[in-house]
Symmetry: C2
């Protein structure tokens, strides 16, 4: 077999967004020929991939064709043509995460059932096929309604607090998840290679923008008790083992006010809650993903310094050619590192980039991040 | 004027080697559209540049054409068509480092004269036009003969210790530099933007492979006295000011056994002695170069953790399709980070990549680096 740095060894990535982009930056270090596919000809990966295929990742034939000359195929988004990946796997291609994992993750109902079957702690839930079925759970208010498929980046999720909210409920197959009275939202990213070696990143803490359900701030490491930390890590590791998965898995969890840790949801790929690992850890999540899918030894996940990640979201009232107000001011702050995703057009709440602020102490990093958030506005 | 992240703001780099490649990795963070030019269609930058132009950087017309639609032009190697860059500058293009700086640096004779004129400490030297002229300096043995132009990566430099060596002397315009009885070779990289702001990286120490005059190990930070450190930094800063240069300048220096600091030579671009800054410093030399040439605020150069850089050179007896023996073993060592430059063919002593080993203490990083050097062999 060729080496992973050989000219004829190509790694295919379905999706050409910012996660693929940061994966490319790491792939360059190892001379891994990363090829991406996206239907958007101006996707963040389009100009800097080893090869870029401008086709739809939901198109069966296009995915099969794309996979043909790749040694390993991976994804940077779950919403891909899984049937095509299954066929490629059947033909002997290495597909990581495995299509079977994508099947579980793609449907939030199947995901919840999987947690239940494997005794992985998660909030109680009910599955409904449409809006009409919701009313039978009236006595269970309040809950979060999550569309089983197609939700992404905060879309397809909303709170149903009482009968008043029933009108706006999604009329689609959904998970109704009992409201979790949580103290914190945390995340653990864990990696596993074909040899079965695993490695987890330290627990981080997320602060969401309640309006759009997107991560606004991420604190690394999380400020939690040792007991919670151990629980969270054990749950993440048990999850990747239960999935028998190869690759990177982000496990988002709630810490309840009474000290329990419950899985919120999982993503089998590099994740928003791991961006900071580029600056804060010995090995970044992107490098770890590549190590895992190529069956290389996993890297050290040790913390180099604490950090805070701030997502740069498009301001609500701007649409068009992007302008990063205040970015040069932010670049003056020592330890503030910008990552701009290469999207030329901004839209309300679009993820346009992120900034990581690092410092010897977490509190300093938090102060810098708050400053950045005040300074930088994504406008048009 | 467009912003540096605008779609029509392109930055041109003459040369498509490993330095350009690492520059691209940083440029992606800031969504800077980095376009490279190299006559080698398989140059390390060829597949991952925003645009790649397969033309010779010594060709006047090709450089002019390349520069036309670029907002800023820079280099990753000195041996470029300077006349074309002068013309582009005359037409109002920003060219950093300035062509005038490239003129001084390209010719080691002019470089030495520049140091002398500006009272920058350097070893005594003589200029000769050819081999025949060398014999008039017989009473000055031993010295290093350095070809005034065209030397690169250890080529064009040799020791002339006595009359016996005269036969093998280069028959070309050269600098004869009095042998420096040095204790250490050190380097300081300093950056300067158009506003005149400067920032220097901490002093590092280089260990050369005597056989081929290439850096084999680099230790960061250097183990030197505070007095030497201050001298070295002051000299580097005075040099970039004297050149009135915008961009990144690597100043390689000798520390003599009697405690003096003398400039060996300078390079107005990212440099082999700054690779470790990717892992070891808050801002890498590549990011700093981009900040400098785009007149952005310079970044913090603070040390995150000590590190040792090992060049991965092609083994002497191998030529052909590259094979990195032992690389996976090396990747098991925590804090060992590989950078493979994407050259598919190895040659004796060709720079194929580098590895940076980091640790909380320099001695630990040194131990890891020695281990890596034992493990990794670049073969075919």
């Amino acid at each position: 077999m060729s080496n992973w740095y050989s000219e004829d060894f190509k790694v295919g990535v379905l999706g050409g967004g910012q996660l693929g982009r940061m994966l490319i930056q790491e792939a360059i270090n190892y001379d891994i020929k990363l090829c991406t596919m996206d239907k958007d000809s101006k996707a963040p990966c389009s100009k800097i991939s080893y090869e870029f295929t401008n086709k739809d990742i939901l198109d069966y034939e296009a995915v099969i064709e794309f996979g043909k000359d790749k040694a390993v195929i991976t994804v940077e988004i779950e919403n891909v043509n899984i049937e095509a990946l299954e066929m490629l796997e059947k033909r002997g291609k290495k597909v990581f995460p495995q299509p079977a994992v994508l099947r579980i993750v793609r449907d939030k109902g199947v995901q919840k059932d999987f947690f239940k079957t494997h005794n992985l702690p998660t909030a109680p839930y009910f599955l409904v096929n449409d809006k009409a079925e919701i009313s039978q759970y009236k006595n269970q208010f309040p809950f979060m309604q999550k569309m089983r498929v197609g939700g992404y980046d905060g879309r397809g999720v909303q709170a149903i607090k009482s009968e008043v909210d029933l009108d706006k409920a999604f009329d689609a197959p959904s998970v109704l998840e009992k409201f979790v009275d949580f103290e914190k939202e945390i995340s653990v990213i864990v990696a596993r290679n074909e040899k079965g070696e695993t490695a987890h990143f330290p627990v981080v803490e997320c602060e969401f923008n309640p309006e759009v359900n997107l991560v606004e701030f991420l604190f690394a490491p999380a400020q939690i008790s040792e007991a919670i930390e151990e629980d969270a890590i054990a749950i993440a590791r048990r999850t990747i083992e239960a999935l028998d998965m190869v690759g990177l898995l982000a496990v988002e969890m709630f810490v309840t006010k009474d000290g329990r840790v419950l899985i919120n949801e999982i993503a089998p790929r590099p994740h928003n809650s791991g961006h900071h690992t580029i600056e804060c850890n010995v090995t970044s999540q992107y490098e770890q993903h590549l190590r895992a899918i190529l069956n290389l030894p996993l890297g050290s996940t040790k913390i180099l310094r604490p950090g805070v990640m701030v997502n740069l979201l498009g301001e609500p009232n701007y649409e068009g050619k992007v302008y990063y107000e205040g970015i040069e001011e932010a670049m003056k702050i020592p330890g503030v590192k910008a990552h701009i995703y290469g999207k030329s057009e901004t839209k309300p709440y679009r993820k346009m980039g992120h900034i990581t602020a690092t410092a010897p102490l977490l509190q300093e990093a938090i102060d810098k991040a708050r400053q950045v958030q005040q300074l930088v506005k994504v406008k048009a």
